[in-house]
């Protein structure tokens, strides 16, 4: 067994030191009747190259952004990940370290988290960012729980523009608490209906996704006004983090908590995880923020360094009265995002966002000009939008697949009023030529 150094001779010596006759005796405290008396029923082990071959064959049965032109987004985005990211996060010093409890030997992880916190604050326009959440969905749920603690209220107003899975996760999280969830419907142009009528003096927060699940840009200042008029908090959740490089930061539009999914920042799609959620707030609410936080300080010789701080919010100290039960963060994925943001930098990230926008506008223009296709929602969008197709979403996507294209998300179950339609996303990975072929395939005009 190549992962275990001890040989039979080592084992013999160690048993002697312990003073027991055999390995069996190590388990003497387990009552006889509790023991497993047969081997575990899992397949026998195979060698390294056989594992590689077996798993490669499994992997080959999954379509991916290398095998197909990719227009499927809906919360997970096919952006390019520069090579330096994987090279750096594969370093064992990052990969095989634990949570940085011992700052003297964890400054690498700690400083990277501090850099992440700084960049997330810049992107969202907020004061404080934590050291990440599991994903965008649980970040949204934790954001809502946080707003409930801050306001000591329990009514939640969410817009239908939230990703359906985010809404599901939110429902799951609040199910055990005495909370009420109200959903504001989508208006005809794809944005939320006016929110103010749904907010009252019992409302803890309004939560809005920007851009919405269907890609439309919501009116955040109006949402902020609706929330603040009743002293409720505005929570903004961001599914496509690249949009933050282009759009006015939610923090400048009245958001009290900004959360979201940062997978777009150099984290591979990896079938939906591990990704990395972020959660930010204003300075005065930092003690209600869940998750790890890294702060700057000095060592005993006055040299600058970083530590985990404000830990009294957390479960290992406050136990049942903690802000959350969260323990791990998504350290490795936040490191990917931090490296990505450093590589793209001040100008590259904006340029990339504009490329995404330009591709989407080109695609929309082609769709408008194509018989059988239309754009049912008029509100402005970033890199994702709804396309009405002539026959059925299944048929349209099947035509795309036959042309080597994963064409988007079938919206039948998500937006019945728009059926038949497809949610299409254009990142920098799709060429103009691929867009042309997609449009042709969705419309059926190439048959």
């Amino acid at each position: 067994m190549r992962y275990i150094p001890n040989t039979d001779r080592d084992i013999e010596h160690m048993l002697e030191v312990i003073g027991i006759p055999n390995l069996e005796a190590l388990f003497a405290t387990i009552p006889e009747s509790d023991r497993l008396r047969s081997p575990i029923e899992v397949p026998p082990s195979v060698s390294e190259f056989e594992v590689l071959r077996e798993l490669s064959q499994m992997a080959a049965r999954n379509a991916n952004s290398d095998t197909h032109d990719w227009f499927l987004g809906a919360g997970t985005y096919a952006h390019f990940c520069p090579s330096a990211i994987d090279a750096l996060v594969s370093r064992a010093e990052f990969l095989t370290a634990y949570t940085p409890y011992q700052p003297e030997i964890s400054q690498g992880t700690l400083q990277a988290i501090f850099e992440w916190q700084t960049m997330i604050c810049e992107l969202t326009g907020m004061d404080v960012a934590n050291a990440s959440m599991y994903d965008g969905a649980s970040a949204a749920a934790e954001a809502v729980l946080m707003a409930m603690r801050v306001t000591r209220r329990s009514r939640i107003v969410a817009t239908q523009g939230l990703s359906p899975t985010y809404l599901e996760v939110l429902r799951t999280y609040i199910d055990g608490l005495e909370a009420e969830l109200i959903v504001v419907p989508r208006g005809p142009d794809g944005r939320s209906e006016p929110i103010a009528p749904y907010v009252d003096s019992e409302t803890a927060c309004v939560i809005v996704q920007q851009p919405s699940f269907l890609g439309t840009l919501e009116d955040l200042p109006a949402a902020a006004q609706a929330a603040h008029d009743q002293s409720a908090q505005l929570v903004v959740t961001v599914g496509e983090a690249l949009s933050l490089a282009l759009l006015t930061p939610p923090g400048e539009q009245g958001a009290d908590i900004v959360c979201g999914e940062a997978q777009s920042f150099g984290v591979p799609m990896s079938i939906g995880g591990p990704h990395v959620g972020f959660l930010t707030t204003r300075k005065e609410c930092v003690r209600q923020l869940p998750g790890r936080l890294v702060g700057e300080t000095v060592d005993s010789e006055g040299r600058r360094g970083y530590v985990l701080t404000l830990a009294t919010r957390e479960q290992h100290i406050r136990r049942e009265r903690a802000t959350s039960n969260i323990c791990t963060n998504q350290g490795l994925c936040l490191l990917m995002a931090t490296i990505y943001l450093a590589l793209m930098g001040r100008r590259g990230l904006r340029e990339l966002a504009e490329i995404n926008l330009s591709k989407a506008e080109y695609a929309k223009q082609r769709i408008r000009a194509t018989e059988g296709l239309s754009l049912p929602l008029e509100a402005p969008t970033f890199n994702e939008f709804v396309v009405s197709v002539p026959d059925s979403a299944d048929a349209a996507l099947e035509r795309a697949l036959n042309a080597g294209i994963v064409g988007g998300l079938k919206l039948d179950g998500y937006a019945p009023d728009l059926t038949p339609s497809v949610l299409v996303c254009t990142t920098e990975l799709v060429s103009a030529q691929a867009i042309d072929r997609l449009v042709e395939a969705l419309s059926g005009s190439g048959r």
């Binding site: 160690m14 081997p39 999954n62 700084t118 939906g272 290992h316 490795l332 001040r346 920098e428």
Partner: protein, 508 residues
Amino acid sequence: MSDQDRISEVGNTGAGTTYEEPLLFELSREGRAGYSLPELDVPRVLPEEILPEGSVREDLKTLPELSEVEIVRHFTRLSTWNAAVDFGLYPLGSCTMKYNPKINEKIARIPGFLLAHPRQPDALLQGFLELCYELESQLAAISGMDRVTLQPAAGAQGELAGIMMIRAYHEARDEQRTKIIIPDTAHGTNPASAALNGYKVVEVPSSDEGILSPEAVAGAMDDDVAGIMVTNPNTLGFFEEHMTAISEIVHARGGLVYGDGANLNALMGVARPGDLGIDVMHFNLHKTFSTPHGGGGPGSGPVGVKNLLAPHLPTPVIQKEVGAEGPQFRLENDLPHSIGRLHGNFGNAGMFVRAYTYLRSLGPEGLKHCSEMAVLNANYILARLRGTPYRIPFDRTVMHECIVSDAELSETGVTTADIAKRLIDHGYHPPTTYFPLIVPGALMIEPTETESREGLDRFVDALLSIAEEAKTDPDTVRTAPHHTRRSRMDETKAARHPVLKWTPEPPT
């Protein structure tokens, strides 16, 4: 210190290839770039012209401007400031810092796993769905549970899911139970997870032997108790010998038993939680099944249940259907009694790939051998520390980890934290300290199976030499570590006046 001074610290500091490293933002120089983007093959759109007024942001002025080589050096240098399992023994109790095999990483990076999308049609995702189905089956076989969901993103979210299923079970039977029993040795996540479900926590003390007694549980058990959360082996490293009896007591009053699987590394092939009356438990793929800890995450916390809780599993569940064209796997969302969804997608899928690779590499004998060696290593450390200045609060055979206390050293003025810090000078990441809470001055040592006998000997020798040093030269211990690039950090300053992000220095 000005930016320019910090920059001058970069490079050789007189300590060989030991580098000081400023923040990215301090290194930034206008005009540098670390990216490469394709030529735009569609007409360029000006955001201001097509987006509503006021919706386009200004410059991302804090983001750095650096070349790729500078960024690679920055993070490479930062990495050298970390301790890690690949450097050596990392005996952090309760965290199971075992070796993370390289093949796991390689396989997780195959494009069919790395570049596939969670919402692509089931038909285009058959390889992954099969892997999930097989991983669920194998985790069920290891634990003796009937069904497994892989969705929870970490152990704590697994606990949350498990307690939600217990709540859903009682609610489906129209029972309003309000309490959860938790032993005093539990991880902090247990009470926090119970509280998130609206449950009150009833704490029960451990016996003089460091385990739960059936009497203590019976005393706390009544018809308002929804269930009990038990970590087995517990955080003192002991097998809960009365687990079956405790399960019976709880079941008899209609409660359910939650098993915290954080310490499953001791039991693979030896005993199965499902055979001891556990109704629901979580696994930590990043502990027991060798997925990397990554500086704090990602974790992955699958949950196994007995059939009575299966209707409440989170959605979606993966189903296998055998048809004319062989087995097909599909996602089932229609579960009327499900607790719902916990993750935006399937969970931390990349960790499933790594854990599955590990299981295929080990097989039944390999798994059992891991547990045997983990337990052997822990008992070896304990045996070697017996009769030394370290006190053994409960001197019995342990499972995968052992607890010693430094209480006898306290008269030297040296604290547990000091000993932990001094271990760093000997080249070790310290064990978990001051936990479990019921042992004063606890050092919780979990060597794992991937350490050699002589490696353990060196670690024990280091502990003994520190105990000696505490008597002869306590100051050196109290001010440790001495061979790190930062000495002890001022945590009070960090908490009193939090600086949680970089801000540019105002121009002078």
